[in-house]
Symmetry: C2
Subunit: 256 residues, 2 copies
């Protein structure tokens, strides 16, 4: 291609493509993957050989390829640097006990949020989520709780130019979203009523660091049938606000 910026290394990008593609499947063969990525056999062969030599990929005797946990190990060292995680654990447990619902701790990453810790609801009907999962910020309670309290300078970079529709309830334009954020600022908590995935609702509060900047978000994720006005009013929102405030206090204290 002629318009590719000259300051990017194409070979590395291709390697990352492979890593990402492999993360989507359990296992794959060389030519299948080559077809999917649109690279030639020999090229992919070399990339896979390199990734395997470095321990990112495992090659079976039958030349089937799968990811190892190497990327995860690297990431684990990164997550561990999020101090809030350790501080938050007991508060999350308290919130889980008080609500009986799945509790998430999430941070902003790029234009989405990533779940960095969770406690599962004991309820047999619960939402399937996992630590490490990403969601678009603009259609998750967690994302809104954070976005609403970001300085407008940072916000500008993050606000989606296109509000892709994921469900019937997805907020699909800028004006409506601005109104939503204003609501969050006014009430102190954010909600998501099936805006990303059908059947999945959530409520979230922001968490602040000692400088007063929003650092993360604490949320409860609930199947629609249990996400009633009365549950919110009497249980979820009070518990969230109380735990969120206590955690923000503790976090500010923990680092002086």
């Amino acid at each position: 291609m002629s318009t590719r910026p000259a300051y990017l290394t194409a070979t590395l990008a291709k390697g990352l493509d492979v890593l990402e593609a492999l993360s989507e499947v359990e296992e794959t063969g060389l030519s299948e993957l080559a077809r999917r990525l649109g690279v030639s056999g020999p090229t992919l062969f070399r990339i896979l050989a390199t990734l395997a030599a470095r321990g990112y990929v495992q090659k079976s005797a039958a030349s089937r390829y799968r990811l190892t946990l190497k990327a995860w190990e690297i990431g684990a060292k990164t997550v561990r640097r999020i101090r809030l995680r350790d501080v938050a654990r007991p508060f999350m447990e308290r919130l889980a006990a008080a609500t009986g619902e799945t509790v998430h701790l999430s941070v902003m990453q790029g234009d989405g949020i990533v779940i960095v810790d969770k406690i599962d609801s004991p309820h047999p009907v619960r939402v399937d989520t996992f630590v490490g999962q990403r969601a678009p910020a603009y259609c998750s309670a967690t994302g809104k709780a954070i976005l609403a309290f970001l300085p407008s300078a940072s916000l500008a970079d993050i606000l989606p130019r296109s509000y892709a529709r994921h469900t019937a309830a997805t907020i699909a334009d800028r004006a409506a979203f601005e109104r939503e954020l204003a609501d969050v600022r006014r009430t102190g908590w954010a909600k998501n009523r099936e805006e990303w995935r059908d059947g999945v609702c959530a409520a979230a509060v922001p968490l602040f660091d000692s400088s007063g900047a929003v650092a993360a978000s604490l949320s409860v994720t609930v199947p629609t049938p249990r996400f009633t006005q009365s549950a919110l009013r009497e249980k979820l929102v009070p518990a969230l606000k109380k735990t969120g405030a206590a955690l923000t206090d503790e976090f500010a204290r923990a680092r002086g």
Copy 2:
């Protein structure tokens, strides 16, 4: 260099070097990192630009670089495929309650083990570990529990050619290690008495899948003062064996 195998892509390898180097530090500048890795400024600049464009690295206004959670997200999708993890959770909780010690679920990866889930001991004196942490297989209880039950074909690839000494107690030669594995096979559980880190002991049992192959290991990690003969005999080993057997049963059942 002249002796580099021609079927590896050097540029990708360099990018992985950068990823790995960044995982070791909170944050770094370009030239500092270039010095450490022995690459030229412009080269590193391009690599970092590529990694940033792909979302693996974040570049601050002051041109400081740090990893994002992207690698972790990719890894999370990989870990999620380890079915045993979900099945094991309640058993781990039971074991944690029965022993009051930190419980780990670990799998083999390359020549080491990686902790894929854990429950912290409530005890104020406890060992600092984290999910995603790696340890050499030959000097961890977990590793020995798995190695002891691996088919000898796989074992040959994994057994270290050099038994690097980490502490005074590290098993440092092949013969002694073979004896150790024989012991594990005979007794059904493995121990580690400060062989990797001073002050850290552990006991572990293997977990098997429905085909009877060793799939993972369940362990308790304990500070040396609490790792007494009587604690082992009366509490740790019985609880481990009981939970391990029950979990292996359940796991076999879960997949037919």
